[in-house]
């Protein structure tokens, strides 16, 4: 539904929302580095750091894993502050109730995320790290959505329907929604794999332990573990983790095909000049980069910078899919109600229901 009360875009609000999304993206990178360096427990207390108020913790003590964990906490505090400002700003100046509510949701999200991160340390619960990672990805999409909804582009999109371009068919929108959903599932799988703290359960590519489908018998798992001599002495791998990585690989292939299909369908139905087609091809480019980073993660024995880049591009891929869908939803091709409440191009189903 086209919002009726979005009369003037506030450019400074948009810029601040975009900056919050960008800083959230950087925060994802900082968090990714914490897990990639196995540093999540390197500061044993929270919200203090080694007994210091976290803002007064001397930089001379930010050594080894502490550097990654402590800077992550400081950056998270900044993003929390920015999200609070954004919520208040939206509440005071935006005319749309649903955007105000999204601002509140973002505030609650960042608070929950901070508490999850703290509890993961104080309760020493590794599994909370998985939820921490998933909430992080979801929160990033929410900040991107807020930047989109406060943008001049969104104003033109919703207030000037004649400039929207071609309608987007329900089939294409659903396709993108399914692929974006698959990407989110893939990110959950990725977070689960990373928080096993077991390193790579399969360290070769394109084969897996030398086979198309790896042997996961107890004897084979014992053999894989005996051969692992990394200095970081990660937890032994299990058959479950090997299968998890195989599912991650298969889903990656499905997602690449799904995004490629979305790009081709956009080109066919919307034309090459349409910004949604260009966005779909950007999506395809990103997903190919992401697949390459996934392969490099394996071949580099999960180098911290490569693995973190894989997390970051994964977040971008999710956000681009979500933004595409949100924009396409405004341009949807169906029995839409126009602002005056009259039906345009009513479908037989709609007519029948009247």
């Amino acid at each position: 539904m086209i919002p009726k009360s979005f009369t003037t875009p506030n450019r400074w609000l948009f810029r601040f929302a975009a900056l919050t999304a960008f800083f959230t993206f950087l925060l994802l990178g900082a968090g990714g580095l914490v897990t990639s360096h196995e540093a999540g427990m390197s500061v044993p207390d929270w919200p203090n750091s080694y007994g210091y108020n976290m803002f007064l913790f001397p930089p001379s003590k930010w050594i080894g894993g502490i550097f990654y964990e402590h800077t992550h906490r400081l950056w998270a505090t900044l993003v929390g502050f920015m999200t609070t400002v954004l919520m208040v700003w939206l509440w005071r100046s935006d005319e749309r109730a649903w955007v105000k509510k999204l601002g509140v949701a973002a505030f609650l999200g960042v608070v929950i995320q901070g508490v999850l991160g703290g509890l993961r340390v104080t309760l020493k619960m590794d599994d909370l790290g998985i939820f921490h990672g998933i909430v992080a990805q979801s929160f990033f999409v929410l900040t991107c959505a807020l930047a989109l909804f406060t943008s001049p582009f969104w104003f033109r999109l919703t207030q000037q329907p004649e400039k929207q371009g071609k309608r987007v068919a329900g089939g294409l929108r659903r396709h993108v929604a399914y692929v974006a959903g698959l990407i989110f599932l893939q990110l959950i799988l990725g977070a689960t794999m990373r928080h096993q703290h077991a390193g790579l359960s399969i360290s070769d590519f394109p084969l897996a332990h030398g086979q198309l489908w790896p042997d996961t018998s107890p004897a084979a798992i014992a053999r894989y573990n005996a051969a692992r001599v990394d200095p970081d002495q990660l937890n032994p791998i299990t058959a479950f983790q090997v299968i998890l990585q195989m599912i991650h690989r298969i889903m990656a292939l499905l997602i690449v095909l799904g995004v490629a299909a979305a790009a081709m369908l956009s080109l066919k139905r919307l034309g090459k000049g349409d910004y949604l087609t260009r966005l779909a091809f950007l999506w395809l480019g990103l997903i190919l980069v992401q697949a390459g980073l996934g392969i490099m993660t394996v071949l580099s024995n999960k180098a911290a910078d490569v693995a973190t880049a894989h997390v970051l591009v994964g977040a971008l891929v999710l956000a681009v899919g979500a933004v595409w869908f949100m924009v396409a939803s405004v341009r949807r091709e169906e029995a839409a109600e126009c602002e005056s409440g009259t039906l345009i191009n009513p479908s037989p189903a709609v007519i029948g229901s009247k």
Binding site: G40, V43, P44, A227
Partner: protein, 235 residues
């Protein structure tokens, strides 16, 4: 008369104690590795760390497989599977040191209820983070340079409980917790001696962190008994 009775009783008790002690036997053996183990690798991040790297004259290496020239395998925990016989509460504390940003020793065994003192001999912060697979409490404690020792006790037997420092992600120790004093960690030649074992038939295990566990039966009489475990290998 009373004194004579007391002296007689004490003599009998002493004799009995000596008799029991005399009947306790030692279990000896050698653990071997067959084949070529994966080579230990250089710990590059340790070398590159400005503080920790300066504490090492030689290049630091991992110690997953310590195989002697005759094939003897070190760092194997050999233990009788006996429960409820811990003397840990009265045993002297075991010591785990952090020196050169490495845990020393990397593999050790203690008893349930025995104090384990963790020292920080390094000029930098460590955190002592324990992870249990068998219900022992998980600890994560800061230990500043020059800070006081940390002392832990664990009540449940466990194989290779992980101690790690998350500040320095290459730092690990693996501590096996036994419920009796009848255990030993093999030396650099793969040799072990479990002393003063009361006569009886026992299940004895040899556990290597990377190579798994082997199990045998052993009968102890009043003399030393040698146990021959098959050589460990990577299949």
């Amino acid at each position: 008369m009373v004194y004579m009775k007391k002296a007689l009783i004490l003599s009998l008790m002493g004799g009995l104690a000596l008799g029991i002690a005399a009947k306790a036997g030692n279990i000896t053996g050698e653990i071997k590795f067959q084949g070529t183990p994966p080579p230990n690798v250089e710990i590059i991040p340790l070398e590159n760390d400005p503080v920790c790297g300066a504490l090492h004259k030689d290049k630091p290496f991992t110690h997953f497989y310590e195989v002697g020239p005759n094939g003897g395998l070190a760092d194997v925990v050999v233990a009788l599977q006996v429960t409820g016989k811990s003397t840990g509460a009265s045993a002297p504390p075991a010591v785990l040191d952090q020196r050169g940003c490495i845990y020393l020793p990397g593999i050790m065994a203690i008893q349930t209820g025995q104090k384990l003192v963790v020292k920080n001999s390094d000029p930098c912060i460590h955190n002592v983070h324990t992870t249990s697979k068998n219900g022992n409490p998980e600890h994560n404690d800061a230990q500043m340079a020059g800070g006081p020792d940390l002392t832990y006790t664990f009540d449940k037997p466990e194989d290779f409980m992980k101690f790690q420092c998350d500040v320095h992600p290459w730092m690990f120790a693996w501590v096996t917790i036994e419920d009796s004093p009848y255990y030993c960690v093999t030396d650099t030649n793969g040799d072990f001696v479990i002393k003063n074992v009361p006569p009886g038939t026992y299940t004895i295990t040899a556990s290597h962190r990377k190579l798994g566990t082997q199990t045998l039966q052993v009968t102890v009489t009043d003399s030393d008994v040698k146990v021959d475990f098959p050589a460990f290998t990577i299949k």
